[in-house]
């Protein structure tokens, strides 16, 4: 049986307690569901955290995983977010050394892509990029030849649009 593999964004509300992430990760691990990115943080209630995971898998498999997640006592809700009904963003921090050679191109990129310089120490600066995955990757691809030293990126965070 062949099925189409597509990107799935699962958004869960969980109790903000020790060990809950391990239980959620345990479900992914036991079923062999590979996670591309994972984001965990408190919500407006300090008792509740939101976990946003992104995976590439076929829909039936994702359904199975969602059911198993729902069975965890500490999981309050599980929802899958679709592109057209949700807003999704990720962020990347890019460390790059500025020198005489790359300065003009770098300044141009910062203006063009709307990056923010959030740290500058000697000639090493850290840029912040926020956007959807495509945006973030475009910036990275542009800057890589200019000598990117290191990056750190969040996974996607997402919210359903419309209450």
């Amino acid at each position: 049986m062949k099925s189409e593999v597509k990107e799935h964004v699962i958004s869960m509300l969980v109790n903000n307690r020790p060990g809950v992430l391990a239980r959620v990760a345990g479900v992914f691990g036991r079923l062999g569901y590979n996670i591309e990115s994972l984001c965990v943080a408190e919500t407006i209630s300090s008792k509740v955290s939101r976990i946003t995971s992104v995976s590439k898998a076929d829909p039936a498999f994702t359904e199975k995983v969602k059911k198993q997640l729902n069975r965890l006592v500490d999981v309050i809700s599980v929802a899958e977010l679709e592109d057209d009904t949700s807003a999704k963003r990720e962020m990347m921090l890019i460390g790059i050394t500025i020198d005489e050679k790359n300065r003009p191109e770098l300044s141009r990129a910062i203006t063009m892509f709307g990056c923010t310089v959030i740290s500058m120490k000697d000639s090493y600066c850290i840029l912040q990029v926020v956007g959807n995955r495509g945006d973030v990757e475009t910036v990275l691809n542009f800057l890589t030849p200019l000598g990117v030293k290191d990056i750190a990126r969040t996974g996607a965070v997402a919210l359903e649009s419309g209450a």
Binding site: G19, K64, K67, R71, L72, V73
Partner: protein
Amino acid sequence: MERTGAEILLNTLSEEGVSEIFGYPGASTLAIHDCINETGIRHLLVRHEQAAAHAADGYARATGKVGVCIATSGPGATNLVTGIATAYMDSTPMIALTGQVTTGLLGSDAFQETDIIGITMPITKHSFLVQDVRDMASTVREAINIATSGRPGPVVIDLPRDVLAARCNDDEEGGGGFLEQQEIHFGEEELRRLKQIARLLNESERPVLLVGGGVKLSQAFTELADVIQKGNIPFVTTMMGIGSVYTPNGFNLGLIGTHGTDLANRIVHQSDFILAVGARFSDRTTSVIEEFAPLATIAQIDVDPTSIGKNIKTDISVVSDIRVALQELLGLVTEKKREDWIDRIDRERERIAKEGSDDGCGPAGECIRMVQECMPEKTIAVTDVGLNQIWAIRSWKVKIPRGLITPGGLGTMGFSVPASMGARIGAIDHEVVVFTGDGGFFMNIQELATIGFYNIPVKIVVFNNGNLGMIRQIQHHFYNSRYRDSRLSDLVDITEIAKGFGIPSEKVAAEDPRKGIEKLCGSEGPFLLEVVVDENNYVYPIIPPGKSNVEMIYGRSE
């Protein structure tokens, strides 16, 4: 009032209706053992922690109440693991209390420290580490609620030594942290789906009910029997479903699947509509999934959404408490004679009876029937795993709810003897008979000491064939009779061992067991009957691996 963590733990368990705990003490749990008698809870000291878990499991299966076991940190806790996994697979409501090193030492590889929460995460419904004595009472209540609600299962409560010793006033106790367990809601959508199922069932010509362990767990015994009677619907059971319903009128086609009856498997294969109630369509039930019930529309009722469509594609399903769904279904099922279908089943039954293809339990099966005849009707049978299990579930006619206890999901050898202790302690009005093989008997043989010490009047039947019989049978059929590592020998004198533990015993041949059985049934206290079985007595029919439910093997190939 100021109480210690240990006192709060025990008082709360007692308030929640717990009256027995099976366990084994260690340094980390001494605070609990120190005050257990004062709280009115009875502690039964086993001889190995695994047995404590199985005893709690057997207690829960026999009574429907939550079973509780306790072990110390480290090796005590890890010894519970097989018992917890057994309970998890068969959805037994159970609380496993484990000692833990003091909170300050957590993660330091302290003496007898082990991460039991991490170890048991995949085999528990949930688990708690109590880090503050103020959370003790609410944690215990929450744990019991989780273990017993929805689809039941085992819950571990890990108890650091300092938290057990810490003191706290009633008014300091946190009332919070109590998780509302989502009630299984039977609403309009569920009713709409159930009506659809009822319509398909009413229109079907050759329906079969597939009864799983969920019926027992939701105590839907009478509701199920009512639906069967009203609609004239034949039924088959999974291994865990055995004992859910007793109808004397021939609607019970027996066990389905790998070790099922020829009749059950053939009728399911011919049916046009299957309604699974509290069954998950495990591989032991369906064999080759693509060839399972090829003509049937499949409907499923289960409390656990993950059980629906997990192994088989269902055409329509309802997530609901089974008892609630069956109550509703009773009103929707029309009375129907189904003469053609019943006739067809009767003809199949006659043919099978003539050919003797469902008579494959040999002298051991006859022995089990004789034991049942001389025991009271309310007797509970507990099986181990292997040939003894299949002989027992095929030969013992379960006439009461919870009348048969077997570790179906995990297939845990060594389960029967400790589980029978729990069953007998819990179900005080019922006699309990154990059917085990020599292999499983040896795996928890130390519990004869517990049985002797408390004089628990269980009747133990050990079928001794000097081999791992079911492994031997598989080697015979599928490994060209190369019996590697399955011979246990007959060098051990089991009856002498029993006597050494203070338990009267007798040895008989399977072909001539009457005298021994009479002694077994007539004994006041515990009794062990060793039944010598020929090593070439197997169980038939069986389904070879990779074959469908109707491609059975009916006997030995020479």
